[in-house]
C-alpha cells in the first residue's frame, strides 16, 4: 500500500509543475495587459504604461517572469492581486469557504438523492419510476445552469416567497466572518434566526449546483447496482435467507459504490467549475466569480495562483479517492 501511495505522490510533482506552466502561459496568451484593461477606452500614456509594467515585473522576458513566479511559489509567496493589492492567499481564504460550503451542500444533496434514486431505479428496473429517474437525470445533466437557477429563483423566491433570491444571508444580519463558513459563523453569532436564514439561502444554490452531479451519481449508481445485483454472491446472500434490505444495502450497494466513489471524486472538479455560474446567479461570494473577474482584469497573480490552488485541491481529492479506491479494491493497488 505504501508503494502505491508513493507512486501516486510521485505523479503529483510533474502535474503540479505542468499546472504552473499552463496557467502562466494561458493567461499571457490572452491579449491585453493589466494596465491596458484598467485604462479601458481612456488615454494610456506610454510613459505611465511602461512604468506600471516595470513596477509589476511584466517588462521582463517570459522565461524570467516564469522563474520569478516559481521562485516565489517555492517560498510560499502567492503574490498580491494587481487590482486590490490584497494577498492572493488571503483573498482565496476569504472566498474559498463560501465555495466549499456551497459545494459540500451540493454534494450532500446530490449524494443522498442520487444514491437513493439510483438504488430504487435499479431495484425497480423497467418501471415507470426507473424511466422517470433516468429521463430526469438526463434532463438534469443537460440543464443549462444559468437558466435553471433563474427558473428556481422566479418560482420559489419570487412567486412563492419560500427562499431568498440570492446572497448567503439577509444583509440585515451583520455577521462577522470568523470561519468564513456562514452556517458556522451564524451559530457562533448571537443574532437570532440567522442560522435558519443562512440555511434558507443555501437551499437553491445547492440544488442548482448539485443537479448535474445528482444526475451523474443517479445513473452511475443504477448501472453499478444492476451489475452487482446480478453477481453470484448476491444470489448466494439471497439464498442464505438474508433480508432484502441487507442484501441490497450491505452486499449490493457497498460493492456498487466503488465506481460511484470515483464519480464523486471527479464531480469535485465539476462542482468547482459549475460554481462559477451558480455563484454568479446567486451572488454567492466564492472563488468562481473571483477568478472570472480576475481573468477579465488580467490580474495575473490571482489567475495563476487561484487556478493553481484549485487544481491542487482537485488533485488532492482525486489522490484521496485513489487511495480509498485502492483500499476498497486491492486489485487496483497491485497494478503496475
Amino acid at each position: 500500500m505504501l508503494s502505491f501511495i508513493a507512486r501516486r505522490l510521485g505523479l503529483l510533482i510533474p502535474t503540479f509543475f505542468g499546472i504552473t506552466l499552463l496557467t502562466f502561459a494561458l493567461i499571457r496568451l490572452i491579449p491585453g495587459d493589466p494596465v491596458e484593461v484598467m485604462m479601458g477606452e481612456r488615454r494610456v500614456d506610454p510613459e505611465m504604461h511602461a512604468q506600471a509594467m516595470e513596477r509589476l515585473g511584466l517588462n521582463k522576458p517570459l522565461p524570467a517572469q516564469y522563474l520569478d513566479y516559481v521562485g516565489k511559489l517555492a517560498q510560499g509567496d502567492l503574490g498580491e492581486s494587481l487590482r486590490t493589492r490584497e494577498s492572493v492567499w488571503r483573498e482565496f481564504m476569504t472566498l474559498f469557504p463560501a465555495t466549499l460550503e456551497l459545494a459540500m451542500a451540493a454534494l450532500l444533496f446530490a449524494g443522498i438523492v442520487g444514491l437513493l434514486a439510483g438504488v430504487i431505479a435499479a431495484l425497480k428496473r423497467g418501471s415507470l419510476f426507473d424511466h422517470g429517474v433516468m429521463g430526469l437525470s438526463l434532463a438534469g445533466y443537460s440543464m443549462p445552469i444559468f437558466w435553471w437557477g433563474l427558473i428556481l429563483i422566479m418560482f420559489f423566491s419570487v412567486s412563492l416567497g419560500w427562499t431568498p433570491v440570492s446572497g448567503r444571508i439577509d444583509l440585515l444580519y451583520d455577521i462577522e466572518p470568523k470561519t468564513g463558513f456562514m452556517l458556522i459563523d451564524t451559530l457562533l453569532s448571537d443574532e437570532e434566526g440567522s442560522f435558519k436564514d443562512a440555511v434558507m439561502h443555501l437551499i437553491l444554490p445547492a440544488i442548482v449546483l448539485g443537479t448535474i452531479p445528482l444526475a451523474v451519481i443517479a445513473r452511475m449508481t443504477r448501472s453499478s447496482m444492476l451489475e452487482v445485483l446480478r453477481e453470484d454472491y448476491v444470489r448466494t446472500a439471497r439464498a442464505k435467507g438474508l433480508s432484502p434490505a441487507r442484501v441490497v444495502f450491505v452486499h449490493g450497494l457497498r460493492n456498487a459504490l466503488i465506481p460511484v466513489l470515483t464519480v464523486f471524486g471527479l464531480q469535485v472538479g465539476t462542482l468547482l467549475a459549475g460554481a462559477v455560474l451558480t455563484e454568479t446567479i446567486f451572488s454567492w461570494p466564492g472563488i468562481g466569480k473571483w477568478l472570472i473577474e480576475a481573468i477579465g482584469a488580467r490580474d495575473y497573480p490571482v489567475v495563476q495562483n487561484g487556478i493553481l490552488l484549485i487544481a491542487c485541491l482537485v488533485i488532492l481529492v482525486n489522490f484521496v479517492v485513489d487511495i480509498l479506491y485502492g483500499l476498497a479494491n486491492p486489485r487496483i493497488r497491485h497494478q503496475r
Binding site: I30, P31, G32, P34, V35, E36, V37, M38, M39, G40, E41, R42, R43, V44, D45, M48, Q51, A52, R55, L56, E80, L82, R83, T84, R85, E86, E91, T94, L95, A98, L150, I153, M154, S157, V158, G161, P164, V165, S166, G167, R168, D170, L171, L172, D174, E176, P177, T280, I281, F282, S283, P285, G286, K289, W290, E293, G296, R298
Partner: protein, 536 residues
C-alpha cells in the same frame, strides 16, 4: 397647582419627545442597494470603474467642488468658494472649516480637514518624490488619462484654509475635472500614520474620508457596509445604514428588489423598465445620461477615407429602428452629434442624413466602391449601457449595408482585445461608446475625436481634422461659456460635414427602487450618491 400642571406638562412633553425619538429611531431603516459589481478597492484614485466610485468617492469622500445632485453643474464642497485669475492659470480655493474626518476603530483624527489634506491628495499623484506616489500597483489612471500631470504646475497652500493650484495652460473644464472621483480628498494624518506603521496597503482596504458614510466592512463579492457619518458637514444621512449588496446579474438584482431584499437596484435592463413601472411596489428613476453609443469609421481605410462612402453608410443605416430594437422604444435618443443635447454647444442645426438607399448606392458608385466590398466591424461580446446587445446591433447594420452592396464582416471579440486591436487601427468599423465623466464637451471631443487621440489610437475613426482640432483646442482655453458653446457648435458642424462616425444613440440611465424609497436623485454621470436617500 400651576407648578403641578407645568410639571405634568413637562413630563408629557418629555415622554412625547422620547416617543418621537424612539419613533425616529424606528423610522430610520437601513438602505440596501443591489449594486452591479464589487468595488476594486477604496483608494479610489487608483481605479476607473463606476462601481468603485459609488462605493468610495460618492460615499466616503468629498472633493473641493462637487456636481449638484442630478446635474453636471458645480457646487462648493470642501472648498466654500474659489477665485480664478484673469489669465485662467491660477485657482485659489478657500476651504470649509470644521470638517471632520471619519472616526473609526482604526483611526481617530486629531485635527479637522485643512489645506495639508488637499496638498497630500493631489501631490501624491503629481509628484514622483511624494512618499505615497509609488504605493499603487498601476499608478493613477484617471489623473494620467486626464493629463493632470502635464496640466498641474503646482499645488500650494497660502494658509491652513487656502489652496492655490497653478496650471501650465488655461483649461476651461478644470473645475468640472476637480469634481471627479480622482480628486477625492484624503486625510494626510491617516496617510502618515499608515506610512509609519508600514501598512500602506490599508489605505485601500480601510478608508478614511470626510464623506456622508463611514466604512464598516467589505466582504468581498458579497457586501459593503457603511454607517452614517454623524459629523457630516451637510448633516447626518437619513439612512440608518447603507449596505451595497453585490449582484452582478441584472435579472437577479431585479428579483431581489421585487422580494424586498434590496430597496434600490442599479442599472436595470431597459427591456425590464416597463414591467418595473407596472409593478405597484416599485418605481423607476430615469435621466438622459451623458452617454453616446456610436460606430467609428476608420478614415484611413482605402474606401472609408472618402467622405462619400461614409455618407453612404450613414444613409443606409436605419437609425430609429436600430435604437428602438436595441434599447426599447423611448429608452434612448437617436444621436446626431457626438454628445447629448443636454450639454454645452450642442449643434441643433445638424441633422442625420435621411435614409435613402438609392442615393447611398449612387455615392458608392461615384467613390468607385465595387459591389460586394467587404468591410470589417469590431464589436464586443457582452452588452453594456452604450449598447445592450452588440451582436444584434452588428447584425442589423449588416442587413442595412447589404442593401447597398456592402458586406459587413462582423468580428465579435472580448472587450480588452477589441480595444487593443481597434487602437492599432485594425478595424474598418468599431462599435463603441463613451460615458462622460464631468459634463464638459471637451470630455467627449478630445478623447474621442482629437488629432492626438487619432495618433494614440483612442480615436477609432483615426480622424484628424485641423479645423475641428483648432476649434476644440480654443474652446478648452476660453473661460467664457457662451464663447465656448459657439466654438463647440462650430466644431460639431465640421464633424457633421465629415461624418467620421455613425452616431447611434444617447441612452437613458435607470435606477429601480421600492416605492417607499425617498430622496434619491439620479445622476446623468451614472454615479450614485445615497447621502439623502431614505426608506420610509
Amino acid at each position: 397647582m400651576h407648578k403641578v400642571v407645568n410639571r405634568s406638562l413637562a413630563l408629557r412633553l418629555a415622554v412625547a419627545a422620547m416617543m418621537m425619538g424612539a419613533a425616529a429611531q424606528l423610522a430610520a431603516k437601513p438602505l440596501v442597494v443591489c449594486s452591479e459589481a464589487s468595488p476594486e478597492g477604496f483608494d479610489v484614485v487608483q481605479y476607473t470603474t463606476a462601481v468603485t466610485f459609488d462605493a468610495a468617492s460618492e460615499t466616503l469622500f468629498n472633493r473641493l467642488v462637487e456636481f449638484k445632485p442630478g446635474t453636471t453643474d458645480i457646487q462648493p464642497s470642501l472648498a466654500e468658494r474659489w477665485e480664478v485669475s484673469a489669465d485662467g492659470l491660477t485657482y485659489t480655493f478657500h476651504l470649509r472649516q470644521g470638517v471632520k474626518f471619519h472616526t473609526t476603530g482604526y483611526f481617530t483624527p486629531t485635527r479637522d480637514f485643512n489645506a495639508d489634506d488637499v496638498l497630500w491628495s493631489l501631490r501624491r499623484q503629481l509628484d514622483p518624490a511624494h512618499p505615497w506616489h509609488d504605493k499603487t500597483s498601476i499608478g493613477f489612471p484617471y489623473f494620467e488619462s486626464m493629463a493632470f500631470k502635464q496640466l498641474l504646475k503646482s499645488v500650494d497652500k497660502t494658509d491652513d484654509h487656502t489652496v492655490v493650484i497653478t496650471l501650465t495652460r488655461p483649461e476651461a473644464p478644470f473645475l468640472r475635472d476637480m469634481a471627479m472621483a480622482f480628486t477625492s480628498i484624503y486625510s494626510a494624518e491617516y496617510g502618515d500614520q499608515l506610512l509609519k506603521a508600514g501598512k500602506t496597503a490599508e489605505l485601500n482596504s480601510k478608508p478614511i474620508g470626510t464623506g456622508p458614510f463611514i466604512f464598516q466592512r467589505y466582504n468581498k463579492d458579497a457586501q459593503v457596509r457603511f454607517k452614517p457619518n454623524p459629523d457630516y458637514f451637510r448633516g447626518k444621512p437619513p439612512a440608518d445604514a447603507l449596505i451595497f449588496a453585490i449582484a452582478t446579474d441584472s435579472n437577479v438584482r431585479l428579483q431581489k428588489l421585487r422580494a424586498n431584499e434590496c430597496q434600490v437596484a442599479l442599472y436595470p435592463k431597459p427591456d425590464d423598465v416597463p414591467s418595473i413601472i407596472k409593478d405597484p411596489n416599485l418605481k423607476v428613476a430615469q435621466t438622459e445620461a451623458l452617454v453616446t453609443g456610436y460606430i467609428a469609421m476608420n478614415t484611413q481605410h482605402p474606401y472609408l477615407s472618402d467622405v462619400r462612402v461614409r455618407k453612404a453608410i450613414n444613409m443606409a443605416f436605419d437609425r430609429q429602428t436600430h435604437v428602438d430594437q436595441l434599447f426599447g422604444k423611448g429608452n434612448a435618443l437617436v444621436a446626431v452629434n457626438p454628445y447629448p443635447p443636454t450639454m454645452m454647444g450642442y449643434n441643433t442645426t445638424n441633422r442625420n442624413l435621411p435614409r435613402d438607399l438609392d442615393q447611398a448606392r449612387a455615392l458608392l458608385r461615384q467613390a468607385g466602391v465595387p459591389e460586394g466590398t467587404v468591410i470589417t466591424l469590431f464589436t464586443r461580446n457582452g452588452g453594456g449601457p452604450t449598447n445592450p446587445n452588440p451582436r444584434l446591433s452588428a447584425e442589423m447594420l449588416q442587413a442595412d449595408l447589404a442593401q447597398i452592396g456592402l458586406k459587413l464582416d462582423i468580428r465579435v471579440m472580448e472587450w480588452a482585445e477589441m480595444l487593443r486591436r481597434a487602437k492599432k487601427g485594425e478595424a474598418d468599423l468599431v462599435s463603441s461608446g463613451w460615458a462622460g465623466d464631468n459634463g464638459d464637451p471637451d470630455n467627449f471631443l478630445t478623447p474621442l475625436l482629437s488629432c492626438e487621440a487619432a495618433k494614440n489610437g483612442e480615436n477609432y475613426a483615426r480622424w484628424c481634422n485641423s479645423k475641428f482640432q483648432q476649434l476644440i483646442t480654443r474652446a478648452r482655453e476660453v473661460i467664457d461659456n457662451d464663447e465656448r458653446a459657439a466654438l463647440y457648435s462650430e466644431a460639431l458642424k465640421v464633424y457633421d460635414d465629415d461624418q467620421p462616425w455613425i452616431s447611434m444613440a444617447h441612452p437613458k440611465v435607470f435606477t429601480a427602487m421600492r416605492d417607499n424609497v425617498e430622496g434619491y436623485v439620479i445622476s446623468p454621470l451614472t454615479t450614485n450618491n445615497f447621502a439623502t436617500t431614505k426608506v420610509k
